[in-house]
């Protein structure tokens, strides 16, 4: 047989090999069973001895690597028999989620404890990837009552606790005090967006900044911060599992936002990170996470003010969503590892450790008994974030429970805020998309 492995064959082989997908390197699922929901049974940990070593997967929210290391060192001193390996499992919540889910698919190398964000933990629940913590809470006497109630409630579903709060944040209203003073405005955040709309022309005229206000970057959780606008106007992304982002109230809220950019011309949209734009002086005000607070304070060359999120024409308070990350324990590891991880979880969220974490990052203390005196003396702005907790609102199901909804909301927001797309049509299209996700990816997995 004559073989001429020439250019043709080489190129042919190159083409054939090119399409192989990385997905296939993962271990596959079993077929034949249902894809139904988890609802893992309560695990009995009595008589279980904690494992001698666990991996802690984190993305170091709020540049928290050093404080995480310090807390682990304290833990090792108290529990020398449990070694905690601090693993950088991603640069953000999405990357850590990718690593966690591919490890689930590969059925190997799972951590004992993992950071899970507000939009990811529910998927882990529906896939049966995490265990309920109730028995561990009882056995280790974790003082759940001492946690901020709204933050603990975020991880409750089907009468079980699936995670505990860790690097938790809310959006904050950041403003340039110098710009406000130059414009003759009061040194405070506006009570409503209507009030800010009256201030904006003065700000723009006197500050020299490009914008009076900049909307957070669309790729950076637009669905999260826009809930503030939607709720203020009496709208929402969804009401429980009913998608109502095309309601007249929601459309009116986003129409107002579009007008602030195209009609009134005092607002813009951040391209990468609104907190950085604000600190660079491009805008007089913005909304960003409390986790950005210390970074803004250290990099801004002006006096920074913070305040509660403004309300809208229908609702002036209770318009701030919670957010950030919690800690969960995978179901695919041994009971010994789960118990060791829970021991570490308990330690990580002790009042003094949550205070240290808050001081280092700007995230909120998750325990009500955390002594924040020293922290507040150093960074008094954190108090605003803590006080705002009392008026936070649980996020819409559509944003936190529907896989990929955040990205779809961001795309819709991009159409409205950067392409001047028709608001009603865009929201109607988004509603169809979100309903499709619910019907296909979530509903079949929910327990009836």
């Amino acid at each position: 047989m004559a073989i001429n492995l020439g250019r043709r064959h080489f190129l042919g082989l190159a083409g054939a090999g090119a399409g192989a997908a990385a997905l296939a390197a993962c271990g596959g699922p079993t077929t034949g069973g249902g894809t139904g929901a988890s609802g893992a049974a309560d695990i009995d940990f009595s008589g279980v001895k904690p494992a001698s070593s666990i991996d802690f997967w984190t993305n170091h929210p709020g540049k928290s690597q050093d404080v995480e290391k310090a807390i682990i060192e304290k833990f090792q001193a108290k529990f020398p028999d449990i070694k905690v390996n601090l693993i950088t499992a991603g640069a953000n919540y999405e990357e850590i989620a990718q690593k966690f889910q591919t490890s689930q698919a590969a059925k190997s190398a799972l951590p004992g404890l993992v950071v899970l964000s507000d939009v990811w933990w529910f998927r882990y629940y529906t896939n049966g990837n995490i265990i309920p913590l109730d028995n561990l809470i009882k056995q280790l006497d974790i003082k759940v009552d001492d946690f901020q109630k709204s933050l603990v409630a975020d991880y409750k579903y089907a009468d079980k606790q699936w995670a505990l709060p860790y690097g938790r944040s809310t959006p904050l209203f950041y403003y340039n005090k110098d710009h406000f003073k130059a414009a003759g405005l009061p040194d405070r955040a506006p009570k409503t967006w209507q009030e800010f709309a009256e201030w904006a022309p003065k700000l723009k005229a006197s500050s020299g900044a490009q914008y009076a206000y900049i909307y957070p970057a669309l790729a950076g959780y637009a669905g999260w911060t826009l809930q503030n606008n939607l709720w203020g106007w009496g709208g929402s992304w969804s009401n429980e599992w009913t998608i109502n982002c095309d309601s007249p109230e929601s459309v009116e809220a986003l129409q107002w936002a579009q007008d602030s950019i195209y009609k009134d011309k005092w607002a813009g949209v951040s391209s990468k990170e609104a907190a950085d734009d604000f600190a660079a002086g491009i805008t007089s005000a913005t909304i960003a996470s409390t986790g950005s607070l210390l970074g803004v304070l250290s990099s801004a060359k002006f006096n920074v003010g913070v305040g509660f999120l403004p309300g809208g024409p229908k609702k002036e308070t209770g318009v701030c969503p919670t957010g950030g990350a919690g800690l969960g324990i995978p179901s695919g590891v041994s009971k010994e590892v789960q118990l060791a991880a829970a021991t570490f979880l308990k330690f990580m969220t002790e009042p003094e450790n949550t205070a240290a974490f808050s001081a280092a990052t700007g995230y909120m203390p998750t325990r009500t008994s955390a002594d924040m005196t020293a922290v507040l003396a150093k960074t008094p702005q954190i108090k605003t974030a803590i006080d705002q907790l009392a008026v936070t609102h649980v996020q819409d199901n559509a944003r936190v429970f529907l896989p990929g909804a955040d990205q779809e909301m961001a795309k819709a927001a991009a159409k409205i805020l950067t392409q001047q797309g028709d608001v009603k049509a865009t929201m109607t299209e988004l509603k169809t998309t979100l309903e499709g996700i619910y019907t296909k990816d979530v509903k079949p997995k929910l327990k009836s």
Partner: protein, 316 residues
């Protein structure tokens, strides 16, 4: 196993039995064959395990309704393919893929050829210029993407600063889906034209000078020589570049991921496959079906190019 073996005088004479031929083959080539196996088998095994086995697995996954992270899945046959081709996203994704590929391949090759012509001239500094042109190709796509993001940033990017200098507002390169695609294509061409330029430069330098001089003596001017002589004689190089750059463009990922993480307006087939499985939706089976579609497109394009385009190639 060479052409010489089958065309050997002994074989054609028809006087040697099969056993004799086998014995003769073993005697002549056994050692070479063992060396061949020793060198090729490890590589073939690696290719089989890390390329073709995943490819086959991926085809299997494309027939499942499987949520990434879930331990179980349901066999759904061709449903994932039907869902993709009937979805509202399919025309957008396929259109974006085609546009991105055509413009980046065309842009890289045309600009690469022009740069190669410039670099082929005998003036001072061409060695430095060649290095400078080729350097972006070997840089990390992630690093390139991050730096260009700063350049394009409408708030404090260099481009924005230049535009403000002439009284213009910066376009929303990052947020506007259409401009995002323009931005990513621009950076992709900038990064990859060095590769085309270097390959074309090698082609230009291997052109037969006697033929070019003869054309010159016949009165053909520079442009005429380029169109009628250089371009046809460069056709093997063009053909090689066409295939390699097209395969590369269809699989472009890093720049898109870094510069437009949302994939809004820039979602090509490979990026859509990533977003569906890992980026947002965790639809592993559906994502696998998109990967198979991409594979089929790559295969068809390669076969068509080899079958039809190469016929028009003039080898020197």
């Amino acid at each position: 196993m060479t052409r010489q073996l089958t065309d050997s005088p002994v074989a054609t004479a028809g006087t040697v039995t099969r056993d004799q031929r086998r014995g003769r083959w073993s005697a002549r080539t056994r050692r070479d064959f063992i060396v061949f196996l020793a060198l090729a088998l490890p590589n073939l095994a690696l290719i089989a395990v890390f390329t073709y086995l995943p490819l086959i697995n991926n085809i299997y996954y494309s027939t499942l309704d499987w949520t990434l992270g879930s331990a179980s899945a349901t066999v759904v046959g061709f449903d994932n393919y039907i869902n993709f081709f009937t979805s509202a996203d399919a025309p957008k994704v396929l259109g974006t893929t085609a546009f991105f590929t055509v413009i980046t391949v065309g842009g890289s090759m045309v600009l690469g050829l022009l740069v190669a012509l410039a670099l082929n001239s005998k003036v001072r500094g061409t060695t430095f210029a060649r290095s400078a042109v080729f350097a972006p190709y070997v840089l990390s796509g992630v690093g390139v993407g991050l730096v260009w993001l700063f350049i394009f940033d409408p708030g404090y990017g260099v481009l924005s600063w230049l535009l403000r200098g002439i009284g213009q507002q910066s376009p929303q390169w990052i947020n506007d889906p259409q401009l995002s695609l323009v931005m990513v294509i621009t950076v992709y061409i900038w990064k990859n034209l060095g590769y085309c330029a270097v390959v074309y430069l090698a082609g230009l330098q291997s052109l037969p000078q006697d033929v070019m001089e003869a054309a010159s003596l016949d009165g053909a001017n520079g442009f005429r020589r380029f169109i009628s002589m250089s371009v046809p004689l460069l056709s093997p190089t063009t053909f090689f570049l066409l295939i390699t750059t097209m395969l590369s463009s269809l699989q472009a990922f890093d720049l898109i991921r870094i510069m437009t993480p949302l994939g809004n307006g820039t979602s090509t087939l490979i990026y859509e496959a990533y977003m569906q499985a890992f980026g947002a939706f965790n639809r592993a089976g559906y994502s696998a079906s998109i990967s198979v579609v991409l594979f089929a497109i790559l295969l068809v394009i390669t076969v068509l190019q080899v079958r039809f385009v190469e016929r028009k190639v003039h080898y020197s």
